[in-house]
């Protein structure tokens, strides 16, 4: 049978074109999607995923694990590469230490609060002249969830200590009752022993650090302008602060276990503790029917745990990982993820379209326990400069026995 030469040429060209498409699909993942799907899955290896490692604080562990599946299933890609998120939990301050000494090299860090981001910015500039994080770039570094530091107390005891709500002199009053050798007897309740307050270890846990920062502001009766010299030179403050801290027992490593102990051990062990509002919400049902009514009290000025997610400005982070990280942060800020954070885990969303007091939300269900959706009437404490935060940490570390 005779075959014209031209046909041979066409056949060879067709063959080359097919081979070219396959080669392109192999080399450039974007072309993979145009290949015939069953054949593609059979012949072509899947493109390597872009790994986004996230070093995060433990308080949002359950929510993150919950939303990560949805993110990976959403099919988000960078240059045709799928994105794989790897989670590594650590204490908020330990995240800073691990990144600074190079023992961990994540793409994203997410401590419990912007306090740590400010401190990390200060520490990295001091050491290398370059900031590892850039909060000014909201695409690469921004808060994703919010929850304030609150006091959780057994109502019967809070009624005696501060009544309906703590006064503006909360921390001074707390100091005075804690150091009084008569304890509860001075308040006509000798059977309650000495007054027992709990917060976490400020060197390991953000809520503990927020507590001692709030106390420091409380001593000076101000909401901004805290300086290192306030901490280092005022002997009266130092005595006041250390007397308060030495009246506490053991410092728990993280906030969740402290709240659990508040509930399982009851008022015998803690009259009140400083934890996050979201932590109190998570345990609200467990407290029912144990040692009486457990209530939440907002301090006179608020400090927020705002869970920033920040892509590191580090040489181990590739441009593709930065892009993938931004997509992940966008997903976390999206309405479904934010709604889940509120309804299931008690965090306050940063997305204003998600209503806090909607029916069935924790602020609706636990309103009787003192939870308040609108806190706009309370002032906020200013986050001091990084060097002030590090001074306070050092002061605690050098002077408080754990």
């Amino acid at each position: 049978m005779y075959t014209p030469r031209i046909n041979w040429v066409l056949l060879v060209l067709y063959g080359l074109a097919v081979a070219g498409v396959f080669a392109a699909a192999l080399l450039i993942p974007t072309f993979r999607d145009i290949a015939y799907a069953p054949l593609r899955e059979l012949i072509l290896p899947p493109p390597a995923p872009i790994v986004v490692s996230v070093l995060y604080s433990t308080e949002k562990d359950a929510w993150l694990k919950d939303v990560i599946t949805g993110f990976e299933a959403s099919g988000a890609k960078v240059n045709g590469h799928p994105i794989k998120v790897e989670l590594q939990a650590l204490g908020s301050w330990e995240i800073n230490a691990a990144v600074m000494d190079g023992t961990r090299k994540p793409v994203i860090v997410s401590p419990a609060s912007s306090l740590q981001i400010t401190a990390l910015q200060d520490a990295s500039i001091t050491r290398t002249g370059k900031s590892l994080v850039n909060p000014a770039d909201s695409g690469a570094c921004r808060p994703v969830l919010k929850t304030p530091l609150v006091l959780v107390a057994w109502k019967e005891r809070a009624d005696v200590l501060w009544g309906q709500q703590p006064a503006s002199t909360l921390w001074k009053n707390v100091h005075d009752t804690l150091v009084n050798p008569q304890g509860w007897a001075a308040l006509n309740h000798p059977d309650w022993g000495y007054v027992k307050f709990g917060h976490t270890d400020p060197l390991k846990s953000n809520s503990g650090f927020m507590t001692i920062l709030s106390m420091t502001y409380g001593y000076y009766g101000k909401t901004s302008g805290l300086t290192s010299s306030d901490i280092l030179t005022d002997r009266d403050f130092q005595k006041w602060f250390l007397d308060t801290e030495s009246s506490l027992g053991q410092f728990e490593d993280s906030t969740g276990p402290l709240m659990q102990k508040m509930i399982t051990y009851g008022p015998s062990t803690f009259d009140f503790v400083a934890v996050y509002e979201a932590t109190a919400i998570a345990q609200a049902d467990n407290a029912v029917g144990r040692y009486g009514e457990l209530r939440i009290y907002y301090p006179p000025a608020l400090l927020w745990s705002d869970h920033p997610f920040c892509i590191l400005n580090a040489d181990w982070v590739t441009p593709e990982q930065t892009q993938a990280g931004k997509l992940f942060i966008n997903y976390l800020s999206s309405q479904p993820a934010q709604n889940l954070a509120l309804m299931k885990y008690g965090f306050r969303p940063v997305d204003p379209s998600v209503k806090l007091d909607q029916a069935g939300s924790p602020f609706d269900r636990y309103a009787a326990n003192g939870f308040i959706a609108d806190l706009s009437h309370l002032p906020e404490l200013e986050i001091p400069a990084g060097n002030v935060l590090n001074t306070l940490r050092d002061f605690w570390s050098r002077n408080v026995t754990r």
Binding site: G183, Q260, T264, Y265, P267, S268, D285
Partner: protein, 558 residues
């Protein structure tokens, strides 16, 4: 050619089959075992042991495929620390009854290591407050439940010469109190710390200077004067109280869960005792929180840590926590509600305790232990030792050396008498304080040798009568009898001894206690048990290899 193709085909099929079988083979060939040894406070035996069996039976594995095998040993919490420190115990996990002794353990460990033995904050397995267990009618006589009771009430009762008569019940006799030995058991150390706080009228901030106060010394002596005897573990102590009844012990320091367990038995009809209730001391108490400590010790491998963490997760899982609640513990899982049997019907009040005492520093705890040694109730002890002909060889050698070791452990204020018996009965040393004669007694014991018949009953009766006549009723009075055979030359009988013991039953827990050691298989264990049991003492089976541990156990009663 066709044959070659068939051959190649067959070879390929066999190869595929072998390769497929590899997966199965891997499961047949054991990849090894990751063994986790756990030494734990005996109070949670009933909860933990079935769970160990359940976990082992489930063939749980660590990541590298090795099977996890849990090996558990119950032991007094303080005793286990000593074992870890002297190297005789090398567990992966240590789970004492409470965290109170952890600072002391770390301080001790730091003397020879650069790091702590216990790092971080160990997780609690289950909780139970330390309480004073008291028979309900007795608690009611003191004003309970309307009146809060505490350590100071115990001290007042202990020092009152009228005893229960002052509360309208002369028929109950003297107040009889008990707690375990602070050198062995968590509830013992907790008891003496609480006593020290009550004596110093403090609830926190106890200092070494406080311990020097004569008032505190007097207070502790007063409380300790009502103690009938000490003991090695809280579980053992509660068994004693609940089997022997209110004539034996009026009250004892133990954990809430043991009272709930006893009340569950009573309500189910398996115990015929009167009801017992938990008194939550008004001055404050401590929690028994059963920390699960994966030791930071050189002998613990990464594999063992992983396996130990898996077992910890299992114990903290809800079904296991619910089982703990059934047994009277308060679960550490806050999602498990505090429901029955944690209720007043079972002698407990889940709304208590109202307050706790501050855990003192390691140095202050050491100071309290020393103070207790000065204020504890002394012992009047008669040791009766068989030196008949059958005790020859290993027996007499090990009996001699273990008795000498036992004597070394007694305090200077303790009073000791030693009687040997064979064909004759000889008093080696009469009842007097050990302080001035310790070396002389040790020399006498080292010279003991065997020969002659077995005058067991006469010697035992003589020891018992001498202690009745010369012993101080304010001391713990005990007779320890060691024999390897049967009586063959006494003039008195077993019945004579039992008559004497029965005649003294009115003294209840303060009566003379007989500890008998059946040394070897020829000893008459039945007889020895019959004369030990009614006194609140104990019968031991022993051999030359175990005799030292028997003496160690007896020492915990004093």
């Amino acid at each position: 050619m066709k044959f070659r193709i068939q051959f190649l085909l067959s070879l390929t099929i066999i190869l595929f089959m072998l390769l497929s079988a590899c997966g199965q083979l891997q499961s047949v060939i054991s990849p090894g075992t990751a063994t986790v040894s756990i030494v734990y406070g005996s109070e949670k035996t009933e909860w933990l042991e079935p769970l160990v069996k359940q976990f082992n039976a489930a063939n749980n594995k660590i990541k590298n495929g090795k099977n996890i095998l849990i090996k558990s040993t119950a032991m007094g919490s303080i005793e286990s620390v000593r074992g870890i420190m002297d190297g005789s115990l090398q567990p992966t996990v240590w789970s004492p009854a409470s965290s109170i002794y952890i600072p002391v353990a770390n301080a001790e460990w730091r003397k020879t290591h650069t790091d702590d033995l216990v790092t971080g904050t160990p997780k609690d397995l289950v909780l139970s407050p330390v309480v004073i267990a008291m028979w309900r009618p007795m608690a009611q006589a003191l004003g309970w439940p309307g009146k809060a009771l505490g350590w100071t009430d115990i001290a007042q009762l202990a020092t009152s010469s009228d005893g229960w008569k002052a509360f309208g019940h002369p028929e109950w006799g003297q107040f009889k109190f008990g707690h375990t030995h602070p050198d062995y058991s968590n509830s013992g150390i907790v008891s003496i710390i609480a006593e020290a706080y009550a004596g110093a009228k403090k609830q926190r901030g106890l200092t070494e200077a406080d311990l020097q106060s004569p008032d505190l010394n007097q207070f502790m002596s007063a409380v300790e004067s009502s103690v009938i005897h000490y003991g090695t573990s809280t579980g053992f102590f509660s068994d004693r109280m609940f089997s022997n009844g209110p004539s034996y012990l009026s009250a004892a320091v133990m954990y809430e869960n043991l009272i709930v367990a006893q009340e569950s038995k009573r309500l189910a009809g398996t115990s015929s005792q009167i009801p017992v209730v938990a008194i939550y001391p008004k001055e404050g108490t401590f929690w028994s929180n059963h920390p699960y400590v994966i030791l930071n010790a050189p002998w613990v491998t990464d594999e063992q840590k992983e396996a130990a963490e898996a077992f910890q997760a299992f114990l903290l899982d809800k079904p296991q926590q619910l089982k703990a609640l059934e047994l009277g513990f308060r679960p550490s899982d806050p999602s498990v509600p505090l429901t029955a049997p944690l209720d007043t019907q079972h002698g407990a009040d889940p709304a208590q305790p109202k307050t706790i005492l501050e855990v003192p520093s390691a140095a202050v705890i050491g100071g309290i232990q020393n103070l207790w040694k000065q204020t504890k109730k002394p012992v009047d002890l008669v040791v009766v030792m068989d030196i008949s002909g059958s005790m020859g060889g290993d027996k007499i050698t090990s009996a001699r050396s273990s008795l000498m070791q036992f004597i070394r452990k007694l305090d200077d204020r303790d009073r000791l008498e030693i009687i040997t018996f064979s064909t004759d009965i000889t008093t080696l040393s009469s009842l007097s304080e050990l302080g001035g004669k310790r070396q002389q007694v040790l020399d006498s014991v080292s010279g003991i040798f065997e020969g002659g018949d077995t005058k067991l009953f006469d010697a035992t009766l003589q020891a018992y009568q001498e202690l009745q006549q010369n012993g101080d009723p304010k001391h713990i009075r005990s007779v320890v009898v060691l024999t390897d055979g049967r009586d063959n030359s006494s003039t008195s009988s077993q019945a004579d001894i039992l008559n004497k013991i029965n005649a003294a039953q009115g003294e209840g827990g303060n009566s003379i206690k007989l500890f008998t050691i059946a040394f070897g298989s020829d000893a008459d264990k039945t007889v020895l048990q019959k004369i030990a049991d009614p006194t609140g003492g104990k019968e031991y089976d022993s051999s030359p290899t175990t005799i030292q541990s028997i003496y160690d156990d007896i020492a915990t009663f004093f």
